[in-house]
Subunit: 383 residues, 2 copies
């Protein structure tokens, strides 16, 4: 089953408080979803994720297709059982990864021929194949197979790509074997062109998906441009369906995105910078790897109540990072995910109490980010 | 404070049940001690270690001296506070690591000049320096600075080395600043020569240390030879003091060592083979990295009740290992340490109930190890 319930729209912004119900439990939106590319959120175990209250995690179709492969996934009875995670899972379509392969892939109307980044073996991915894989994975939320055009693609390329993405969305929908158990989202493309975004949204809404993703953003364009594309696109998506902004999760984009009506986010930022020795804190990013923290015995974020901040100092974590100790990556990953999930919890509370703009001012001023001029966005969103 | 209480000697073997009391809590012996080289048991956090009931862990003086360095260690108030571990800690003397540097070090009566394996910087380690570092680290159990002669060293070299180790033991004892809080163990050397081992033991016992370590074993000699050296050495150590067999921790050596009167063990085996994709199980070693386990959905060890075996399959862990995912190393490390700590718990129970020989038969037959002829050992030990 899949159900989205719009609980409340905020008074002064386009922010929405909602609830998604799946066979594997409920998701309070707006939500940030940790990324578990290969069936593991890097360095976390599934108990860690529950402890930090991750309500849903991602799996990557491309990676899981290559390893462990669908024969084992099928024998395991799907990804939930394989990795022992009984809460909701969302999978991407594999499109983004396949297109990122560059010279290793060839796109046709039928699909994409590509070579594995692991061993060079030849594979073919199509809407039908992507859906078949996602059906085997058994994710609660699936994605249509789309083409994510580069940020600098010209109008002509982007238009053709967007049109093909619409045709692929139709084929994805037709190929879906378990629509009652797994919700398939359409993905809005259209690059940096307002009219193409609107057309893409309209064509997908026409096909009536249970939710809509916004793809092809945060691919090299400015933040302003990204927020503009949200302002242009979101008014064309139905209020009664969830909206998912793919691959976006910086502190400013989370809050600005929510204000524009986005319900779901995912990002590898939190886990990736953790492995590079950087923490997200209420005061901004903290590069704990730096020598300045060698004898700093305060927690990563004095305002954070996570187990890492309660138990370990910057000096200790810096030492672990400098020694390439696994525990360094693990502690930073835990904290960064906790920090982001907690931020989204505060966002949900603020929406409930109609004070999201206030929360934005509070968070951004400490973090050192400038808020966008939101009146324009608000006008567009409510028009 | 430091106190060793001999609770019971087993009827049919030389095994001893005991209790060590330190300022950071009690240790039930015989005990296996996980190795936390750089202030972290690789991939574990301190809560993991408590959850699996690790009663004491090791730190390595050489590594901690280089990183984070003693300035930070001092500011932190010692290793317990630095890493947030409030149970006992044992440190080695740095001797073994320094001697392992090969061409990078030069030994004189005064001490050892060496170059850091990290950046080639020049350092000098002596008994006085080693003790000073261990005083700063604040470990509950410290080691005298010793020379660990190679297994194939000849009689002359080994004799001179053992004699210097005795002189260094005296200097270590004299340099010790906090004998009331930190117990300093003497280290028996003497290579593979019976008379040198006996002389070393006697000379150290003469100096009256609160505990005795057996060093220079498991350095390339056969298991039989190692057990023989224990048979030769242990009768010369006082019953009322704990005995620690350094760097030894395979399943057979643990039980055979306990039967010969050893109280404490440490080993990097458990954590190192974990990071290579190998599990210790009641049926022997399981190389879960192997293709045979790709679709094996049983736990690592069906007889184990650890959280890893309760939650994850061989297939999942094998997938993690193949993908070089941190979680693979972490789950295997947890299981291997849990398995070993649990084994020692069983050993302690068996001693209490005078059935250690029975337990040995049970464990070895499943594991596929041949027991030694113990009558000989027993005779020596009780003589």
């Amino acid at each position: 089953m899949f159900k989205y319930e719009l609980i409340k729209e905020e008074k002064d912004t386009g922010a929405r408080l909602g609830k998604i119900t799946t066979d594997h439990g409920e998701i309070q939106t707006p939500i940030f979803m940790p990324v578990g590319t290969q069936g593991t959120v890097k360095s976390m175990d599934q108990d860690d994720l529950k402890e930090m209250n991750a309500q849903i995690i991602l799996g990557n179709t491309y990676h899981l297709y290559l390893r462990p492969g669908m024969e084992i996934m099928e024998k395991a009875g799907g990804l939930h059982k394989f990795m022992n995670w009984d809460r909701p899972i969302l999978t991407d379509s594999g499109g983004f990864q396949v297109f990122s392969l560059g010279d290793l892939r060839k796109i046709t109307e039928e699909g994409v021929e590509f070579r594995s980044h692991l061993d060079g073996s030849k594979h073919f991915m199509s809407p039908e194949k992507s859906i078949q894989i996602q059906n085997t994975i058994g994710s609660d939320i699936m994605m249509c197979f789309d083409e994510c055009a580069p940020a600098d693609a010209d109008y002509d390329y982007t238009k053709k790509s967007m049109e093909m993405t619409s045709r692929w969305a139709r084929r994805s929908k037709d190929a879906h074997q378990r629509p009652d158990e797994q919700a398939l989202f359409g993905i809005v493309q259209g690059g940096m062109f307002d009219d193409l975004r609107v057309r893409s949204a309209n064509e997908l809404v026409e096909m009536d998906f249970p939710g809509y993703s916004i793809g092809g953003l945060s691919v090299g364009e400015t933040k302003e441009k990204m927020f503009h594309m949200l302002d242009v696109t979101l008014p064309h998506l139905p209020q009664e369906k969830p909206r998912y902004l793919m691959g976006v999760g910086s502190v400013d984009a989370l809050i600005e995105g929510v204000m524009r009506g986005v319900d779901m986010f995912d990002c590898v930022l939190q886990t990736r910078i953790a492995r590079n020795g950087t923490a997200l804190t209420s005061q901004g990013k903290l590069v704990v790897r730096n020598a300045a923290y060698a004898d700093d015995f305060r927690p990563l974020d004095p305002e954070c109540d996570c187990p890492v901040c309660r138990n370990y100092s910057r000096a200790y974590i810096r030492h672990l990072v400098k020694c390439n100790e696994i525990l360094g990556a693990r502690l930073l990953t835990y904290h960064n995910l906790y920090f982001t999930l907690k931020l989204m919890e505060k966002v949900r509370e603020a929406i409930l109490e109609d004070r999201l703009l206030e929360l934005r001012t509070e968070v951004f001023s400490k973090y050192g980010i400038k808020p966008t001029d939101y009146q324009k966005a608000l006008k567009l969103n409510r028009s």
